[in-house]
């Protein structure tokens, strides 16, 4: 009896402890199934049911390909079954409209071009200095999505609800739907992922306003017909009438198994092609007739066997590593501190060896004075095309709609992006892409604000309606008199103070109202620049590989290359600026310092010669001293 009592007394606390811990474990908050891996590097098989979004945006019943109506699957409710969509949407690709998201280092803006109106204006939701919010030119999030959603992965402005703002037609949005995050844009491993095809993602958004259907259209197992843009305002996509022009999804035969599940080819590590759709560049640096992608090499990291996501990693939060210095201040991704150029190629300061990550060769920089690391970014010597005498026209996926149907392939197509431009930012010279903004604006209390596009279209558009536009999409070449006329027309609409910003200058109407007065180098016309990171050249093609004069010569492109001042206003002598004007260096000093390198070989010869003489003197008298010591030690008189 006593034994049983003792046993019970011993077991009772243990039992209570178990219950308490168990209760705590049950109450611990848990992410969804797919938020965190279990350690297996194998890809989980995604044989999953599809779910749509219903009229209220909530999860609808499982999609039946034979049902009526057949709705497009919603990534939020399909992928969101296992992956926390609300966490993902705060990630870098999707959080532009999130006011709490850090802005990070200024990057490539969205550029609105209009060659007839003389506009190329950089837009961003991230308040990067030099960019404008879409609302400043009267563009709603719906319109922005239609214009630029072709090269967005969804989310962000595509999910702004009409009831939360006052500039989106709630009826049109009901028909089109929201542009949810398209997980397949990055994570579809199937070759059938269609972002830029004739019925793919871009066309569904930009032409047809089929936001709700776009993700399905991009997948390999669904096709979308019809167009929300063509539907009457009274059209209800959840009660279609069966007309051919209505937006509708047709799932491929055999896509669904017996249980109504669909097999996705989902990969965690996005293939390079997914990234390339939005992040391709074309530098017109190889001369006429040599402006195709096969002429230029890809990034050396890719040729060495890495993929984009080997460096640009993220977890479920999708705080993707951008890879710039000081990114730790903007991101809580634990890899940002080490996933930089230095992090892999020159690792220091760690208790354990970290050199050679991902097969990275350790940079020795033989013969390079250390001051270069203080004054230049890694990309200054290693990234972008080899600098030539002039910054060249450059195209990017997002600015020039690369990879979508009917793209104007001419180099001069707007917007005019120039690169590489070696400018100083954050105390270091680094290569940039650049645009010279051009836009119609008003000046109020000294502040220049762009005018809404519809106002410009109605006023300036009328003045320029007879302008002869070029087939290559280049500026038509506006005269200052035409600018004056346009300003007069615009003045009436904006109650005076109309100005035109172009080519770094601000143009106002002159007193006679028939001509314009230009204020050169106006702050409102400052070029917008964003750093180049790729395409990284091999080490054997780094600046300085030949000799110091790759950069330190009086005609070296790094300091003395030319940057055209791009402007819609025609000029007999187009203005140019030297690279050094974008750096915090006196042009005369840059020239004098570069010129001094002519004497560098003589400096070395003289210094080595003088050292030789001094060494010989030391040797001679040192040997004599040694002789004297030897005689003393030998007690030799």
């Amino acid at each position: 009896m006593r034994r049983e009592l003792i046993l019970a007394l011993l077991l009772l606390p243990l039992l209570s402890l178990t219950l308490v811990l168990g209760q705590d474990a049950e109450e611990a908050p848990a992410g969804k199934l797919g938020d965190k891996g279990d350690g297996s590097r194998a890809h989980p098989t995604h044989l999953i049911p599809l779910f749509p979004a219903n009229e209220d945006g909530e999860k609808g019943p499982q999609i039946d390909p034979e049902g009526d109506p057949v709705l497009p699957f919603s990534t939020k409710h399909t992928c969101g079954e296992c992956h926390s969509y609300d966490v993902i949407k705060h990630g870098w690709h999707f959080n532009a409209t999130d006011v709490n998201a850090p802005t990070g280092r200024p990057g490539e803006p969205w550029i609105y071009p209009d060659h007839k109106l003389g506009i190329q204006i950089p837009l961003s939701y991230r308040d990067w200095p030099g960019t404008f919010r879409p609302s400043q030119i009267g563009m709603s999030d719906f319109d922005f999505t239609k214009m630029f959603g072709r090269h967005m992965p969804g989310g962000g402005p595509g999910e702004t609800k009409a009831e939360d703002v006052d500039n989106i037609d709630i009826g049109r949005q009901y028909i089109s739907g929201l542009l949810e995050i398209n997980c397949l844009a990055c994570h579809n491993g199937h070759f059938g992922q269609d972002m830029g095809g004739v019925n793919g993602w871009a066309v569904q958004i930009a032409v047809k306003e089929n936001y709700r259907w776009a993700a399905a259209a991009s997948s390999e197992f669904a096709a979308v017909k019809g167009s929300a843009a063509g539907m009457d305002i009274m059209y209800d996509p959840f009660m279609p009438e069966g007309e051919d022009d209505e937006p509708q999804v047709v799932y491929r035969d055999g896509a669904f198994d017996a249980d109504g599940n669909v097999l996705f080819d989902i990969v965690r590590e996005a293939p390079n092609e997914r990234c390339y759709y939005c992040h391709s560049d074309m530098y017109f640096a190889h001369g006429e007739g040599h402006d195709e992608k096969w002429v230029a090499d890809e990034d050396i990291h890719l040729k060495a066997g890495l993929t984009c996501v080997d460096c640009h990693r993220n977890g479920i939060a999708h705080q993707i590593v951008r890879g710039y210095p000081d990114e730790v201040a903007d991101s809580n991704n634990p890899l940002v501190a080490t996933t930089t150029c230095e992090g892999c190629h020159i690792p220091e300061g760690s208790d354990i060896p970290e050199a050679g990550r991902l097969g990275a060769p350790v940079a020795k920089h033989v013969g390079l004075p250390t001051v270069h690391f203080e004054r230049l970014s890694c990309t200054a010597c290693h990234s972008g095309p080899w600098p030539q005498d002039d910054a060249v026209l450059t195209k990017t996926s997002r600015a020039h709609r690369l990879g979508t149907p009917s793209v104007n392939k001419a180099a001069e197509m707007l917007p005019h992006v120039l690169s590489p431009v070696f400018a100083e930012k954050d105390g270091k010279i680094q290569p940039h892409k650049m645009i010279w903004p051009a836009y119609w604006a008003t000046v109020t209390e000294g502040e220049v604000q762009p005018v809404a596009l519809d106002v410009v279209e109605k006023t300036v558009g009328k003045v320029f309606e007879d302008l002869e536009l070029k087939a290559n999409g280049d500026w038509p070449g506006i005269s200052p008199e035409q600018v004056a006329e346009a300003l007069k027309a615009l003045n009436d609409a904006v109650d005076g103070n109309a100005v035109y910003v172009a080519g770094g200058s601000l143009y106002r109407l002159a007193e006679d109202a028939n001509s314009v007065v230009a204020e050169a180098d106006h702050p409102a016309g400052e070029p917008y620049m964003w750093p180049i990171a790729h395409t990284v050249r091999p080490a054997a093609q780094a600046l300085g590989i030949r000799y110091c004069t790759d950069c330190h010569a009086s005609n070296a492109p790094l300091f003395f290359g030319s940057v055209a001042v791009d402007s819609p206003i025609a000029s007999e002598t187009p203005a140019v600026k030297d690279m050094v004007e974008f750096q915090d260096i006196s042009p005369f000093y840059a020239w004098a310092f570069s010129a001094s390198f002519v004497f560098r070989p003589f400096f070395k010869i003289v210094a080595l010669g003088a050292s030789g003489i001094l060494a010989l003197v030391l040797l001679l008298y040192g040997l004599r001293a040694l002789g004297a010591v030897a005689r003393v030690l030998a007690e030799d008189e």
Partner: protein, 217 residues
């Protein structure tokens, strides 16, 4: 750390020179500071021996003094005052004068080495020691002569300058050649900085003693 040590070393050196000047005044008649400076400058500029080679040597010395002053200013000023590396026009001036200074050092090293050889009588206590521990026949009266410390110290300073000139020059010239990676570039820079500090002290001592001995002569 380098800035702090440099300032302390320079203060100690200049302070020591000033103290030595007043503790051991030169001759019975002190000419006064202005007359003294004029006299020193005239001694430096006017060749006492009329040979062409002598004049060239004196000119070389003058140029090297000017170069040393400018190199010292351009080299130490940004580090000590602004806490920055040398850059800009100062760096260009420094790099322009450096080879000139190197040539002058080589010429002075070659032409003055004989004059600055260590001889008997330079260090009486050493001779006394040798007389005691060896069988060498060292005359007692020579061994017991007064110590010409100033001249001996000047010789030591001269040879220190010659010895230090090598790492001072080579640390920069070799870093210009494709030999050293980043780590050794930093080592070379540090070597140049620290060598320059010790070199400057040796030059200051040598120059002070040269002036002092000239006045005594």
């Amino acid at each position: 750390m380098f800035e702090t040590i440099t300032i302390l070393v320079f203060l100690a050196t200049i302070g020591g020179i000033v103290v030595h000047w007043f503790v051991y005044p030169v001759g019975a008649e002190c000419p006064g500071p202005i007359r003294g400076i004029v006299r020193v400058l005239s001694l430096l500029l006017i060749e006492q021996r009329s040979s062409t080679l002598g004049a060239l040597k004196k000119l070389c010395y003058l140029v090297s003094v000017i170069c040393f002053l400018l190199l010292g200013l351009t080299g130490f000023y940004p580090v000590l005052v602004h806490g920055e590396h040398i850059s800009g026009w100062l760096m260009m001036l420094h790099a322009t004068l450096a080879p000139v200074f190197a040539i002058c050092l080589a010429i002075l090293g070659l032409t003055w080495a004989g004059e600055y050889r260590f001889r008997q009588g330079d260090c009486p206590w050493l001779q006394k020691l040798l007389r005691r521990v060896t069988r060498l026949s060292i005359p007692a009266d020579a061994a017991e002569g007064p110590c010409n410390c100033a001249a001996t110290t000047q010789k030591i300073a001269f040879w220190a300058i010659v010895v230090l000139a090598l790492p001072l020059i080579l640390s920069i010239v070799l870093s210009m050649l494709p030999l050293f990676g980043t780590h050794w570039q930093e080592v070379a820079m540090a070597a140049h900085r620290w060598t320059a500090l010790v070199f400057a002290v040796a030059v200051l001592i040598h120059t002070y003693l040269a002036v002092r001995l000239r006045i005594l002569q």
